[in-house]
Symmetry: none
Subunit: 191 residues, 4 copies
DNA sequence: GATGAATGAGAATTCATTCAT
DNA sequence: CATGAATGAATTCTCATTCAT
């Protein structure tokens, strides 16, 4: 009887995450994942029916972790600007602290490898984003724009910011994250 | 060099582009590329030493095409705001009109499949972007920010805009592209 | 030896019989046998050294059961015709009532999976068949034919009859079994 | 450009037939088939999409060969007894001369590995057997019996005879085949 | 130039068997 | 006795690449 969720299973998920981000799904043999995780090839298939299930599990788990981390600090009170800044900084910080995880989600969210079912399940964890978007649109504080763009804009600036700090780790600082928020956001509010 | 650089070679490059974008490099067998191009499997290797060379060629060619298309309209006169808007719209329009090509560059720019040499060569075609960034920084019209972020910001908003219009083709219009420019940009100028 | 030779062991043998008949030896994983028997995978190897020993045990046990069932009613008195009819009907009825067991013997008697030793041991249970064949040959009531054919003929008509009633269960009746005996046998006696 | 149907493809089918009969489908790795055929593993999959298609092809081809061989001599004139004897002897001789092929059909006709589609297609070649059965039933020369049994009886005695001569090759002779026919058949005619 | 049959290394997956608990 | 996690050899199948025609 092993501990909770089995150390080996966790080792496999960890190895898979790193390898997938570095090499892509198709260029990552299950044998390599197993070796990196320090288990036998058969063990991988003991925990995951097949490679696809491993990928799906990893996606769901990662997205859940991210969702929880962000929701933790999410404020329902305060000005819209303050709450957005908080949200932005939380997501960006999570992306900086969990670079593999963030790149994994970023790279594979639209990948055909992620089962449609898995993708839909994962979305549930971010329902609060939908809510805040609706609130933004309804607030009257935004430039006149249709909601579909707000969604894509939010995703875009999160990606942009995190990608930037990944490329330039020396620039990471509370001030710069605030600066980036200001630059990305200032234009979207009616001035 | 035969007359049209050989129709077969072009057919292979065209098929490869479409398949790579839809299925990724590793999930696209050379046999499938050849079939889709209407040539024999051996023919592909007649024109390209191996799969990697095909990928590199495709990357270089696509990036060159994009660079040329954009540089064509690039203005060296006018206000910075006007020139940026023009540049933004040209790139976004090119991305809308050449979705496969844009996604190919977007998806594989950071891919390990692209030889370092190839990537560096490709950058040359965008030297003018470096120039304009320097100009932006020096103009005093921007918020105070270090140049590395400007680069990543530009790339980010181009991606964001083109991704948005790819997801929502019904939103494509001259007005909306202007709107998106305004939203992305307004915050970056000193107000 | 525990009381009922262990219920688990019996459950394993039962599950194995059904699965082997339906799927063949090689297409029946020991894990599936264990699951169907409601025991853990390890338990199977607790009772049987390996898969081969399980198969051998099953073969021996099944053949013994069949032998016993038939010998039970075997008559040493009466006309040859009557005794043959009785034997035929007993075997056919056993095959009808124990279809899995009969198919198992039928399918795997000539299989290389059955150890030679096992096959030979199993034959002992049918010594009386050899006796009756000798008697048949010596009786003068048969057409002139060498004994090797009698053996194969007997086996053949048993198989033929049981296979027929397995394929057409609606035809099973005392009359039809008699009819089949008449058809198979009538020609073998001097008329 | 290789000759007709490619020697390699034929070599693969030949090797597969022999190995399947000796070892069964599941106990015959494709690698072994390839080695025995003297080709690379990839070559097998060049000619057959997968193992199943190889099996299906082999089944269809073998059944067709048998059907053609037998239909060749099939007589539509003469007494029913003479025609049946001719048919019986032709089938038995084919089985003796083509032991692997016959065992292959015998063993795998009811195997789940043979695709249903394949089995149905294969039956067409034996339609003439259905015709002769109808004729037998309608002739009034037979004991009163339902047609389903005739079918199974025919199959049964063919198998019985061929199995016998396979086990005892020293008994193969024109006389013995006639003898076997007499024994199997005599009972089925009204005397 | 062009073809496509042939190759064999490598990938995903299965499964009999072991062994610590 | 019983369990089931763990193993790794073996299996099916894929695919980049070669080469005789």
């Amino acid at each position: 009887m092993t501990k909770d969720v089995s150390e080996k299973k966790q080792a496999i998920l960890k190895a898979a995450l790193e390898l997938f981000v570095d090499r892509g799904f198709h260029n990552t043999p299950t044998s390599l994942i197993a070796r990196q995780a320090g288990v036998a090839t058969g063990t991988l298939f003991h925990y995951f029916k097949n490679k696809e299930e491993l990928i799906d599990t990893l996606y769901l788990e990662t997205k859940t972790k991210m969702g929880q981390a962000i929701q933790q600090n999410f404020q329902n009170t305060g000005s819209l600007d303050e709450r957005m800044r908080q949200l932005f900084k939380d997501i960006v910080k999570w992306g900086i602290l969990n670079p593999k995880e963030y790149r994994f989600i970023q790279q594979f969210s639209n990948s055909p490898f992620i089962t449609k079912l898995t993708r839909d399940t994962a979305l549930d964890h971010f329902e609060y984003l939908t809510n805040i978007i609706n609130e933004l649109v309804g607030s009257g504080e935004l430039k006149t724009v249709y909601p579909e763009f707000i969604e894509d804009f939010l995703e875009g600036v999160f990606n942009l910011a995190i990608t930037h700090f990944r490329r330039h780790p020396d620039k990471i600082s509370e001030e710069n994250i605030d600066l980036v928020f200001d630059i990305c956001w200032h234009g979207i509010f009616v001035t």
